[in-house]
Symmetry: C2
Subunit: 376 residues, 2 copies
């Protein structure tokens, strides 16, 4: 039996049962709303987790890099949407995945790029399946549904033969600026309305639009109806984090990952303890400080997962975390070598700093080790 | 000939000639000041760079993780100081490196740990070379030179036989709170004075103290004298960054790394361009915003390395960077697919997001690819 005492720190922990519950809840919710779940694997970056997350759904996935596309295609996930705007010079790599038999959908909101997709497809002898990005209010990428470029880009892609128009895609990133379920529900309805309007624009122009893709974790958690949407692409919901908790998308006990760390120094005089989880083990994401300045760079737990109240992870150096307010704790319980855990502000950012998950059961026993992919 | 147009983005670039100049300048400076350079490889994490950085000096290096210790020892760097407080359970891994013939010095400021080092050394049949951490004003880890624990820990380590006292080590992290050469020089003198005082305390107690180790990049750049110090451990100086520039430790043209990125979307209406260098390619380090809010998450250059004035990398999502103020630029010059470069706020944090360097010469030709290590 391997326990948390047996592994080196810092290490990324994943609670198997919490993950399973998060996956099942989202899967059931979207099934009930009548849409497919196309989980975004940018958070988990693990083929094992992709297998668990797609259960009971068609099996398509979403990725954020071409490295992920290649990794997941190599692990049997043959229906992939690359949900970041494509550049023409990345098409050659997509083409090689298409030739291997995978479907890798590319995304654009740019007429020049739409033309380049078709031109490269002809030249490379493939048909690039493409989606058009719609801005449903986040103002990151995408066209407004009423933008006159939308039908023009759509016709360019649909005309082929180097490209094929599969539909429209949006991401309501502005759901992350909400607070509370009601505000998120309003954004979810806006996301739905805008992307469905874009699909209708294409259909009115006589074009097929089989894919109407939406979704962020907050909107997938709180959407009340998804009429007209064909699939949702949440990713963070697998793990959740302190930011999602503050937003109102999960409860603290839904957070499935944490970083196991060791006390490496202590200064009773300064009421400070140093841990070996710094900026490289946690990332510098301090987004949840938006909800409470008490949060700092993560929430401290003991090794068993119980909160350590009154302390704050106030500062990070590369391999040092500064736990402050430790005078409220019995310093004797925080000897050098003591193990603690840190819940992340942002699971995507923290997980990305690690090459693997140490999978634990509800008694803290390590039951598996799952590798992650990374890079581009 | 491979150029920047031939590689996939995002990618970490390293300018060979700038690196060489930075290495030579620091090497000569410390030689002139009569101390050894024990470069900190936490920034570069590359055996190739370690080889270049130790030229003309004894060859010892500094690391921030045991993974780095093992990686560099495996590449022939047999004199290693692990400059982060050790925990007893990490000693077994250190012992295996010692048995392989490497010298790996451990660091502590804790009496219980000092006892554990000796006890584990006896049990494992090795002698752990140890340094005592001194707080020269940064208040991260370490004992004040006058702390009564200092001679007690020193005697525990010196008594052996499982441990050996090699000396004292400090890091003037508070140099990073300075601005300008004069302020840094004052901290450098404080760092020197405090660590030398600690060495004198040990010598007065009849203990040998061969190693008197100090150094951060700013203090190594600006120290006027280093009497009594035997070695300096700067690391960031190999690459420098926007934070070091603001601090007054380098000029903009000394920054040796950047992230090559592609424009992946543009919105003339919002004066915004999206690039494919987001939080995972750049890190979320925004430290240089301390010097100027204009800096954002990095400084934008064109692919040739010329500044793109008037724009700001205002926001990062996982794989998206938001370049704002782009209405001041000819949008035609920023088509989707256009290559740009981003100078990092903090080179250690940005480099850590990448598995390799694309090494370029002064014409932007890619002349080599150097792998990096990572993890713990």
């Amino acid at each position: 039996m391997t326990t948390l005492a047996d592994i080196e720190t810092p290490a990324l922990l994943l609670e198997r049962d919490v993950l399973a519950r998060n996956l099942e809840r989202m899967s059931a919710r979207l099934r009930d709303l009548g849409v497919a779940l196309r989980p975004h694997l940018k958070t988990a970056k693990s083929a094992t987790i992709a297998g668990l997350a797609t259960r009971g759904h068609p099996g398509g996935i979403t990725v954020s890099t071409l490295n992920e596309a290649a990794y997941f295609a190599g692990h049997g996930f043959r229906d992939v949407t690359y949900a970041v705007g494509i550049t023409p010079d990345k098409l050659e790599r997509v083409a090689s995945l298409l030739r291997d038999g995978a479907t890798v959908r590319v995304l654009t909101d740019d007429l020049d790029v739409a033309r380049a997709i078709d031109e490269r497809g002809r030249r490379l002898g493939v048909v690039f399946p493409a989606l058009i990005e719609i801005d449903s209010g986040a103002h990151r990428g995408g066209l407004a549904p009423e933008d006159l470029l939308l039908p023009e880009i759509a016709r360019t892609l649909a005309a082929g033969p180097g490209a094929r128009l599969d539909g429209v895609l949006t991401h309501a990133g502005h759901a992350y600026d909400c607070r509370g379920a009601d505000a998120i529900r309003a954004v979810a309805e806006q996301e739905r309305r805008e992307v469905v309007a874009a699909a209708e624009t294409l259909r009115s122009a006589g074009l097929a639009c089989p894919v109407v893709s939406a979704g962020s974790t907050p909107t997938a958690v709180h959407a009340e109806r998804l009429d007209g949407v064909t699939e949702m692409r949440p990713g963070n919901y697998m793990f959740f984090d302190l930011y999602q908790e503050g937003l109102g998308a999960c409860r603290r006990e839904d957070v499935a990952i944490s970083v196991l760390a060791s006390v490496i120094g202590r200064s009773p005089r300064h009421g400070r303890v140093l841990i070996d989880a710094g900026a490289l083990a946690l990332s510098l994401d301090c987004s949840a400080a938006r909800w409470s300045e008490r949060i700092g760079y993560g929430a401290l737990l003991d090794a068993a997962g119980r909160a350590l109240p009154g302390v704050r992870l106030a500062r990070l150096h590369q391999e040092h975390g500064f736990v402050e307010g430790a005078e409220t704790l019995p310093m004797e319980s925080l000897k050098v070598g003591t193990r603690v855990r840190v819940l992340p502000n942002h699971a995507c950012a923290t997980a990305a700093m690690h090459a693997r998950y140490h999978v634990i059961d509800d008694r803290g026993e390590i039951v598996d080790r799952w590798e992650r992919t990374g890079g581009w």
